[in-house]
């Protein structure tokens, strides 16, 4: 009986998690019509490349969806399934997987699917059999040289309609009536190791791959973004950055062949490689989208109208007070939208502190093209206290100062301006470069003003610390300011935050001018982070000199304080 109760409660909780986020789909989104995405061109089969972003978009998802939970599934099977998704979803998204171990979310009901439209599968093999007519053959990877997983995946993308199989998976499929033609067997190449594999890939396959995106993904990740990479004909590699070494030399070759400001690196990097890798990509003008555990991009990247985020109520005057905006970081990260952000969002919007304090979520406007369904769920359901700003540094994760071709930076700013406008985002979080910070140069400030013609403000992210004065300026009608307290992961409690406000109150007393405080939080602290922020809010909410505001509201107030109009 106890077990039954446990199961029942578990089921109820799961049900609650599914429904806590309102369904965002509508009839138009589920039909077979061509998407009315304003930014797409260059048809690739049934998929299209965005006209200006390095993003492959897919047709509208099917009304009936096959879904499968792969969390406990064998990696070799998951790899085959990724290639199956790439083939099937490229025609019409109809296979959906639940993959993440933590912050796992099945979005299908949030996207508007009714239970009768969903078919759950427990065997990826039977799912493959269902779609066997769409498959023309198999590419075999060498289990004794595991990096051939990436080589075979890349090959499958180029060739099209192939399943990526280990010898054992091939045999299992054959037993189940899918004795596929072996189009390529990488065991025959007798590769000696990783370096050998990726050099081969560069020499023999890279020219046939798209150069819009390059995917850095461990062979240990058989699912997640892999289906999207295969569908996009991306080269899939697993190389580390660093200043020397064969890996770096080879990845520089790949990056060097990609177009500045028009290409992206997807997946992620080996442990601890983030800063140097983003910097390396930026050197080649390549944008970065963290997506190594982004799942179902071949499903989410289907055409959907995105409800633009709503601007806060426009203030008419700014007072001599301390204005505080609380920000959740890491919204540049595509998989974060799918997993952790959803956990935090549900907790914030449905928890005990719902709608009690303004909260600003960083969010990549690139989601407009690559996972519009996800973005729409957030923007459509956002209450008045939810605000959105970009993550660093706009439409993708880049360090603009590290770009060799500064003309390409302008192109990047134009893209950010465009997609912010499409999504209703008015404030940009910029991160000029990693490492020691130096203030924005006049040229950099001028460039913001030149390209961010539709935005209210750009805030640059410098190292944690306070500073004398807020340093904000008017650049061609754009407010250029600084975030004040960034990635406060070492705070670990509201006591440290309250110090930030104390300091601003001291400045207020001394200068009798408005003070603007931003506190950007580390989302990986979990939902306890929200408790910390709420405790801070609760501590100060009754202080007449402290006002908690959304980030766009703070931008408008700061514009007023700089003698600018609140809006443009």
């Amino acid at each position: 009986m106890k077990r039954f109760l446990t199961l029942l409660l578990t089921a109820l909780l799961a049900l609650t998690a599914v429904f806590a986020f309102a369904a965002c789909g509508n009839e138009e989104e589920n039909d077979n019509n061509e998407p009315e995405n304003p930014g797409t061109s260059e048809v690739t089969g049934m998929t299209k490349w965005s006209e200006d972003l390095p993003i492959l978009t897919f047709p509208a998802a099917a009304e009936k969806v096959d879904w499968i939970d792969t969390k406990d599934m064998n990696n070799e099977i998951k790899l085959m399934l990724s290639s199956l998704k790439a083939v099937v979803n490229s025609t019409q998204p109809r296979i959906y997987t639940v993959e993440a171990d933590t912050d796992s979310v099945n979005w299908l009901q949030s996207l508007g699917y009714a239970a009768e439209d969903l078919t759950e599968h427990t065997s990826a093999v039977s799912l493959a059999v269902k779609y066997k007519d769409a498959i023309k053959g198999a590419v075999i990877w060498d289990v004794e040289v595991p990096d051939t997983v990436n080589l075979a995946s890349t090959y499958a993308g180029i060739e099209g309609d192939l399943l990526v199989c280990s010898p054992m998976v091939y045999a299992v499929l054959a037993e189940n009536g899918m004795e596929l033609e072996i189009v390529r067997d990488f065991r025959e190449d007798n590769f000696t190791g990783k370096a050998d594999v990726y050099q081969y890939l560069y020499d023999n396959l890279w020219q046939q791959c798209t150069h819009k995106i390059l995917t850095n993904l461990s062979y240990e990740t058989p699912g997640y973004v892999r289906d999207y990479a295969i569908a996009a004909k991306s080269a899939i590699i697993w190389l580390s950055s660093g200043t020397t070494g064969n890996d770096t030399a080879l990845i520089r070759k790949f990056l060097g062949d990609m177009e500045d400001g028009e290409s992206a690196l997807m997946g992620w990097f080996p442990e601890g490689d983030e800063g140097s890798f983003v910097s390396l990509a930026s050197e080649y003008g390549v944008m970065v989208w963290a997506s190594d555990i982004a799942e179902n991009l071949t499903f989410y990247a289907s055409a959907t109208e995105v409800t633009p985020a709503q601007l806060a109520q426009v203030p008419t005057a700014v007072e001599n007070k301390v204005y505080v905006a609380l920000i959740v970081s890491d919204g540049d990260n595509l998989q974060y939208h799918q997993h952790r952000m959803r956990t935090l969002w549900d907790s914030y919007n449905n928890g005990s502190y719902a709608d009690k304090f303004p909260l600003t979520w960083t969010f990549s406007p690139a989601a407009y093209a690559i996972q519009p369904q996800i973005m729409n769920c957030y923007t459509k359901n956002a209450g008045d206290n939810n605000c959105f700003m970009t993550g660093p540094s706009g439409v993708a994760y880049v360090y603009p100062r590290d770009w060799t071709d500064q003309n390409a930076v302008g192109k990047f700013y134009e893209l950010t301006n465009k997609y912010c406008k499409l999504t209703g985002i008015t404030v940009v979080n910029n991160w000029m470069g990693q490492g020691s910070y130096s203030s924005l140069t006049s040229e950099e400030i001028a460039a913001f003003g030149e390209y961010y013609t539709d935005l209210l403000a750009v805030y640059d992210q410098q190292g944690t610390g306070s500073k004398e004065g807020d340093g904000s300026v008017d650049s061609n009608g754009l407010l250029v300011g600084n975030l004040t307290w960034n990635y406060t992961q070492t705070g670990e409690g509201w006591n440290s935050y309250t110090y930030y406000i104390d300091e601003a109150l001291d400045d207020l007393t001394r200068t009798q001018t408005p003070q603007f405080v931003t506190i950007q939080e580390n989302p990986w602290k979990g939902t306890g982070m929200l408790n910390d922020l709420y405790a801070l809010y609760d501590e100060w909410k009754d202080n007449e000199n402290v006002v908690f505001v959304r980030m766009d509201e703070l931008a408008m107030l700061q514009r007023l304080a700089n003698g600018m109009s609140a809006t443009r």
Binding site: L5, L8, M73, E76, A124, V143, P146, A174, E175, N381
Partner: protein, 959 residues
């Protein structure tokens, strides 16, 4: 369309409906669990209720803390007691101080009578925080009880500083069928409610029953244990509670001897004091007569005395004992610390003068036991010596709740211990619980010349473990006697030395005395910790650890790969052997403070090994590991063919008990005629665990001997194996466990080169267990398929032992001829495709990841595929990594190895993905013609944790 709002409404409805269902189910569950539990109390019995056990509750549960159950606000919990009759029913409840507790009793669980409640009081004369007013309305006691001191003197109520013991008479509330409900709750709907610390139920008179051949001790603390009380009081000395009766006060206990015949010995022994102390006895609780001690030993104010009750014990075995003051005009009455009833209990009998000091008496450690706890009360076991500075504080006294020995100044107490001649001088210990710092132990082997020594000891609270110095222990083994003397370290100080307990540990060496007959064979059976072990001999002790246990759900299996037994837990393992066996060698790979005993009937046990009893208590990290053996052929009845092995903790007062990795039994079977010569690789085997103990397999043998299951190398000694591999052998490996071993290799048997312990073909994992050194010797096959391996001492002056040796080879694999008509059968582990092929398995050491199943040590899986008699080629395909053996069989019984890993791999040296083999082998010759094909996957080396990582297996039949 606002789908958000509609969805939310649907959600709310669904949630409400589901919550209602949950609530209904919860209520249903509560009723299911609430009904029925009752506690049966037989007449004369005293039942102690385990208040932490939910299953004993009749209704409600309250809350549980650390050893208590409490009820605040509206919470309550109810016990139902079932007595034999309606009268003489009592509940003895110990409650913690609270200002809002209540106890009620009821015959029907409806109409309640309050028997106890407590409230707070604002009486100005007491501190409000510590003052509690409690009212006990039944049992003839009512009034106020104050918790602010620890000396509350209220008749019938025993208290400490924070708890009260209530003897609640239940008569009047017991139903006709003997049932009564006892409910514990808060007095009002508020916190600080009833806090129950103990509960016992009794019907009839409280009676202490001495079992035949045993003893029982009277509990002075419990108010419920008194048969009659008239003004006695509770006191304490040296941490020991005593009950005393001065002037006209007295107290009576009822005792019962289980065996009462004309020849039965029915004794009472006391430790008590008081110049006017007096004890009276009666068989009827009237007409008491004063008793005179038959044995008396004075130590200062204390008297250890034994009384023979034979004249006063009635036919039923009952006797009433009344303690009083012989002179009612003043104090100094009976003040009793220790009272024990002995029924035909040999140490205290008229036969030995009730325990008279006698230098001839001694502690016998030469018998079957290696561990013996000394009964300090047995005055016959020790001798006292008054020093130059006479003291009354010498001999038996009381301390910390029990008996103790004490001495002062230069007076001493001495134990004489008989020691076996095969005593192990390296492992002779004693464990002593002492108090105060002024003690010193000294030793003698002749009983005359004592050498006081500042012994190194391992301290665990008041318990100290001492190692007898090796030279002394060796002399004791030779003389057969060891004298242990307790004295004071500072003989000028008046500070006493107290000894509260003493346990002796003497390990004995059962050396390998096997002498091999002319014709013989070896048989070996090994049990690894975590495998399916032995048999299940579960008893009711609560301490027995199921031996058929599995690593995943066994609470005493350590992740490091050993099974441990601490304190009173133990495991019994059963191994059988050929009744014709002439030699029986038990080898334990074990660590810690173990105690190994053997038996041929699981009843009477003989100790064969004890571990580092003393030193392990000082360990803070991993325990050092012992490989110990004993030849048991003289200790058990060999004709029974069965051996029970008990693994336990030598010192049961704490952790660090026995922890074993493996136990093995090697038997030697004598043959009348020459037996078939043993071979290194059995039929159909690519992999072997070489029986190193078998000298017949040696190519050369120079000054070596059996050691454990391995082989020891004497000075300038060596031994050599000759491996003759087939012509198509393409790989060769060995793995071993050793001490101080050098390995040389030769391809011609004459010129050898030493194997290097560096480089890529040598791997070692020093953190692991089992055979963790390995070489890949494939490179030598290019020169010859015959390989000689010679083992000798690495360091010439140090003993060298090769404990294990594994070896294996592969032959060139052939995938067979391809034919167009192919039939596939295949699975991926963890995928639904695996289920239909899995035939049998041992998963006790198996773990699963998203990539593979890892079969460690003796775990395995057998998969069953359909055969095809008409197939031209049958190809085995497999994806498997790490250290593996793949075998096939046509009948599921006789397996033939088809491929092994080329090397014994270790996880920390290799990523699992880099050892994977993509296997395709033609097995037509092995299973062709059969309608069934079995494929088995197992670990290459079965004594360590680096096992086969299986990803998938398939069979392709082709025509």
């Amino acid at each position: 369309m606002n789908t958000f709002g509609q969805t939310k409404k649907r959600l709310l409805l669904a949630l409400c409906a589901a919550m209602a269902l949950c609530f209904a189910l919860a209520l249903l569950c509560m009723n299911v669990f609430a009904a029925g539990a009752s506690i049966t109390v037989r007449d004369g019995a005293n039942v102690t209720v385990d208040i932490m056990n939910d299953d004993l509750l009749y209704e409600g549960a309250g809350s549980t803390g650390n050893g208590n159950r409490f009820a605040d606000n509206t919470a309550f919990f109810t016990y139902k007691a079932q007595f034999s009759t309606r009268t003489d029913a009592f509940a003895i409840a110990t409650v913690f101080k609270s200002t809002n507790g209540k106890i009620q009793i009821s015959p029907d669980n409806e109409s309640w009578t309050t028997v106890y409640y407590s409230t707070s009081s604002q009486d100005a004369s007491y501190d409000a925080e510590t003052y509690t007013q409690s009212v006990l309305e039944r049992s003839g006691v009512s009034g106020y009880f104050y918790y602010d001191t620890d000396t509350v003197e209220v008749s019938g109520v025993a208290v400490s500083s924070d708890r009260l013991q209530l003897d609640i008479e239940l008569d009047g509330s017991v139903a006709a069928d003997g049932g009564v409900y006892i409910r514990f709750s808060a007095n009002t709907n508020a916190g600080n409610g009833l806090d129950l610390r103990g509960l016992s139920l009794r019907q009839g008179d409280p009676t202490f029953v001495a079992p035949s051949g045993g003893v029982t001790r009277i509990d002075f603390n419990s108010v419920g244990s008194l048969y009659e009380d008239s003004g006695s009081k509770i006191g304490s000395m040296n941490g020991t509670t005593n009950r005393y009766a001065d002037n006209s006060s007295y107290f009576v206990y009822k005792a019962r001897f289980a065996e009462k015949t004309s020849s039965s010995e029915t004794l009472l022994r006391l430790l008590w004091r008081g110049a006017d102390r007096a004890i009276y006895a009666s068989s009827s609780a009237s007409d008491y007569e004063q008793l005179t001690a038959v044995f008396s030993l004075q130590s200062g104010d204390d008297y250890y005395e034994i009384f023979n009750l034979a004249s006063y014990v009635g036919d039923s075995g009952d006797v009433y004992l009344k303690f009083a003051d012989a002179d009612t005009s003043n104090g100094n009455g009976a003040n009793v610390y220790f009272a024990e009833l002995c029924n035909n209990y040999a140490p205290y009998s008229s036969d030995n003068g009730y325990g008279q000091s006698d230098a001839g008496s001694k502690v016998d450690m030469a018998a079957d036991t290696m561990v013996q706890a000394i009964d300090l009360a047995d005055a016959g076991l020790y001798t006292v010596q008054q020093g130059t500075q006479q003291t009354a504080n010498l001999g038996l006294t009381v301390h910390s709740g029990g008996l103790a020995l004490h001495t002062q100044f230069d007076s001493t107490l001495t134990y004489a211990v008989s020691v076996p001649e095969n005593a192990d001088p390296e492992r002779m210990y004693f464990r002593a619980e002492t108090r105060d710092g002024n003690y010193r132990f000294s030793f003698s082997t002749d009983g005359t010349n004592f050498t006081p020594q500042n012994l190194a000891s391992v301290t665990d609270g008041n318990v100290r473990f001492f190692s007898v110095p090796v030279a002394t222990a060796r002399a004791a083994a030779e003389s057969g006697m060891l004298y242990i003397r307790l004295g004071c370290a500072d003989t000028a100080s008046d500070e006493q030395a107290f000894l509260l307990s003493l346990t002796l540990f003497v390990n004995r060496n059962y050396t390998d005395t096997l002498s091999l007959p002319t014709y013989y064979e070896f048989r070996q059976e090994t049990i690894y910790a975590g495998d399916k072990e032995g048999i299940d001999l579960t008893d009711d002790s609560g301490y027995y650890q199921h031996s058929l246990s599995y690593r995943a759900n066994t609470n005493n299996m350590d992740d490091a790969g050993y099974r441990y037994y601490d304190e009173n837990s133990y495991g019994v393992y059963k191994l059988t052997f050929d009744t014709k066996a002439c030699g029986l060698l038990l080898v334990m790979d074990i660590r810690g403070g173990y105690r190994i005993s053997v038996s041929d009937d699981a009843q009477s046990w003989t100790d064969v090994l004890i571990g580092e009893v003393a030193t392990v208590r000082a360990q803070t990290g991993d325990l050092s590991r012992d490989l110990k053996q004993a030849n048991l052929s003289q200790l058990v009845d060999m004709s029974k063919g069965v051996l029970y092995i008990k693994v336990a903790d030598a010192s049961t007062d704490g952790g660090w008990g026995g922890a074993f990795t493996s136990l093995a039994l090697l038997t030697v079977i004598e043959s009348e005629t020459a037996t078939e010569a043993p071979v290194l690789f059995g039929e159909g085997k690519l992999n072997t665990a070489v029986p190193v103990y078998d000298p017949r397999l040696l190519e050369e043998d120079v000054n070596t001997s059996n050691a454990y299951l391995g082989r020891a190398i004497g000075a300038d000694g060596s031994f050599t194996y000759k491996f003759e591999l087939p012509s198509d052998a393409r790989s060769f490996y060995i793995a071993m466990k050793e001490t101080n071993i050098r390995v040389d290799i030769s391809v011609n048997g004459s010129s050898y080169e030493e194997l290097s312990r560096s480089g890529g073909n040598y791997l070692n994992d020093t953190n692991g267990y089992g055979s963790m050194e390995t070489w890949n010797l494939t490179q030598y096959l290019g020169q010859s398929k015959t390989v000689y391996l010679r083992f000798s001492r690495l360091s010439a002056g140090t003993e060298a032992v090769l404990y294990t040796l594994y070896a294996g080879y592969n032959v060139t694999e052939n995938a067979g001829t391809d034919y167009e008509n192919k039939t596939y059968q295949a699975f991926i582990v963890g995928d639904p495709s695996e289920d239909k092929y899995l035939d049998s398995y041992d998963y006790t050491q198996m773990g699963t990841t998203n990539k593979y199943k890892e079969f460690n040590r003796t775990s395995y899986a057998v998969y069953k595929f359909a055969g095809d008699a008409s197939a031209k080629t049958i190809r085995l395909i497999a994806s498997v990594g790490n250290s593996f053996v793949l075998s096939v069989s046509a009948d599921g019984v006789n397996f033939r190895d088809v491929v092994i890993s080329d090397q014994q791999y270790y996880g920390q040296n290799f990523l699992s993905d880099t050892t994977v083999r993509d296997i395709a082998i033609d097995i037509t010759a092995l299973v062709g013609g059969s309608d069934t094909i079995y494929v088995k996957v197992a670990d290459l080396v079965d004594d360590n944790d680096c096992g086969a990582q299986l990803r998938g297996i398939g069979i392709i039949t082709m025509k």
